[in-house]
Each structure stands twice: as structure tokens, then as C-alpha cells.
């Protein structure tokens, strides 16, 4: 299952980053596919990107919301929120585990050998703060005298943007190096911080800072595709605790906001108590294992 997930991740990586002419054009993809929403956090200023980033788009629309309303064009962001909500309603944070290029990136660098650490659970709430303040409130309300806001999360924080757009664009366009200031230094620092952290801990950005993950997490109880815990089969052996890349104790909180449906626990569960369900119908039944070691 994990191999299949890796291939799905790679497939989504190339679907959302499918424009490979950029070393020649030295510019981003400018075609019509960009009207499609990227399910994962994938910067749309990335030269290879073929889709738009919902978090980036939302901030841009919020930042210009006054101009658009005053000219009678109501670009409020319904299309973006609608698309995000449909994705959330279907699969929720399964996107993080299966379709997000930045999640894949963190998983891969976590394979670098090093001492591994957990993440203090309280830090998970930081991402909701980022979603509320840097994606919604600051772009909406921190405006200049003409009523124009800024995309705060993209500009001051997003490490995915620095990795996928900032650094590649500087390589492609050396003239840009003159323009670099403290904001870029801050963003590179944040990126390096999360890269180092991702080597030491599993998926630190997803767990503590991703506003898109925070949004999808709100669907944990109402999404169509989800992991179900069969309490009749669960032996509370806690085998699901250690394997979870997101630090979820699945048998204690099966509807956890952090669950990314990566199915690591379904494989680890020797009692086959965890199954993937679509609308209440189980679809992945692990083969029964006769040996019940360590239960």
C-alpha cells in the first residue's frame, strides 16, 4: 500500500508540476490549466506548476477584495473555497498524504538517517492561527490607504513557495538577485528550518504550519473517504501509534484532525481493526494475519 501511495504522490507531483519547458522559457506556465485547483500546497509561481494554489489564490482575492467590490465585480473567493471544500468533503487531509508535493518532499527528506524526534502536540494548533491570520484576516484587513492588502502567508512564510518558486526563479533569472532583501532571507530561514526539522521529525510543516492542511482538517468528521476503527476488533495494542507519520494515536481518536489517511496504521494493525471506507463502505480489507505477535 505504501508503494502505491508513493506512486500516487509522484503522479500528483507531475500532474501539478507538469510544465518542463521552463528551463528554456525561463518563465512560469501560462496556460489555461491554471484555472484548476491544486489539491496540495503547490506554489503557482513555481515554473513547472500547472495548477493554481488555493491558499495563494485566496489571499490574492482577499487582498484585492475592496477594488473588486467597488468596481462591481465580486471576486470574493467562492470558486476557490468551493473547490477546496469539495476536495475536503471527498477526501479531507488524504490530500496531504497522497497528493501534496510538499508532503512528499518532507517524507523523502525524513528518510535521511538521523535521530528522530516527536513533535509537541500543542504546536499543531499553530497552523489554524496561520490560516486565520495570515491567509484570511491580514490580507483582508491589513490594507494600505487605497484598500489593497497583501498575500501575507505567501510573502512572509510559505516555505513551499520559497522552495518551488523563489529559489528556481532566482536560478532562472539571475537579474532577480539584485532585488533580494530581508523578506527573502526570512523565507529561506523558514524553509531551512522546516527542512532540518523534517529530517528530525516526520512531516513537521504539515503538522504545525500548513494552512491548507488546517482547512482540510476541518472535514475530518464529515469527509467521504476516511479511515474507520472497528472497536470490536481493536485490541488497544497501540501498534498504530508508532507508525503514524502525523503523531496520531488512531485507536484513541479515530477522527483525529491530523489523520492524513496514509494507511500506515491499517498495515500495522494486526487485528485488522482499521479500514479505509468510502461513505461507510469499507474498500481496503487487509488480509487476515494469523500471527498476532505482541498483542
Amino acid at each position: 500500500m505504501d508503494v502505491m501511495r508513493k506512486w500516487v504522490q509522484v503522479l500528483f507531483f507531475f500532474m501539478t508540476n507538469g510544465y518542463w519547458k521552463f528551463p528554456y522559457t525561463r518563465a512560469i506556465y501560462k496556460g489555461p490549466l491554471k484555472v484548476i485547483c491544486s489539491p496540495g500546497l503547490n506554489c503557482y509561481s513555481c515554473p513547472a506548476s500547472t495548477t493554481y494554489c488555493p491558499i495563494g489564490s485566496l489571499q490574492q482575492l482577499f487582498a484585492g477584495i475592496r477594488i473588486s467590490i467597488e468596481t462591481g465585480q465580486f471576486f470574493i473567493g467562492f470558486y476557490v473555497i468551493g473547490t477546496m471544500g469539495v476536495i475536503g468533503g471527498f477526501v479531507g487531509r488524504m490530500v496531504c498524504g497522497w497528493a501534496c508535493p510538499f508532503g512528499l518532499f518532507q517524507e523523502l527528506i525524513h528518510k535521511i538517517p538521523s535521530p528522530k524526534f516527536g513533535i509537541w502536540p500543542v504546536l499543531r494548533y499553530f497552523k489554524y492561527g496561520l490560516l486565520i491570520f495570515m491567509v484570511v484576516l491580514l490580507p483582508l484587513f491589513a490594507v494600505d490607504e487605497f484598500g489593497t492588502g497583501e498575500p501575507w502567508f505567501c510573502k512572509y512564510f510559505c516555505p513551499a513557495g520559497t522552495l518551488e518558486a523563489g529559489i528556481p526563479m532566482i536560478i532562472l533569472q539571475p537579474a532577480l538577485r539584485m532585488n533580494l532583501g530581508w523578506i527573502f532571507a526570512l523565507k529561506v530561514f523558514i524553509l531551512v528550518f522546516f527542512i532540518v526539522w523534517a529530517v528530525l521529525s516526520s512531516r513537521p510543516f504539515c503538522r504545525t504550519a500548513c494552512p491548507l492542511g488546517a482547512f482540510y482538517a476541518l472535514f475530518s468528521r464529515v469527509k467521504l473517504v476516511r479511515l474507520n476503527l472497528d472497536l470490536n476488533l481493536c485490541t488497544h495494542c497501540q501498534a498504530c501509534h508508532d507508525v503514524c507519520p502525523m503523531g496520531v494515536r488512531f485507536n484513541e481518536s479515530p477522527d483525529d484532525l491530523e489523520c492524513i489517511s496514509c494507511l500506515a496504521c491499517t498495515k500495522a494493525c494486526k487485528a485488522n481493526a482499521i479500514n479505509l471506507e468510502i461513505g461507510g463502505i469499507p474498500i481496503v480489507n487487509q488480509p487476515k494475519r494469523p500471527e498476532l505477535k505482541g498483542v
Binding site: 482575492l61 527573502f184 469527509k223
Partner: protein, 56 residues
Amino acid sequence: MKSKNQKKKPKQKNKIIPFVVIIIFIILGMIGIGLDEPSQILNQATQICLSCIGIG
């Protein structure tokens, strides 16, 4: 008999709620399309605002 009923109820709820949520967001997305938001998103997505990603 009683326990069977109790078990059935939340399961049925689970089956309906996701579709309700999805339909609500589809309607929201449709409103956005009606307001011509996709064209604006396409405009924004096909050009970089360099300062917006921290360069310059």
C-alpha cells in the same frame, strides 16, 4: 434489537453528511463561477507577482 438500531443511526448519518457538505461547496463554487472568478484566478495564476513570493 435496540443495540442494532443504535448502531445503524450514526452510520447512516455518516453516509449522508459528506454529500451534503460536498453539495454545499459545489454550490459555493458555482456561485464563484457565476461571478467570473475563474478568469481572475487564471489571470493571477499565469503571472508572478514577485514581491508576493518574497523576491523584491
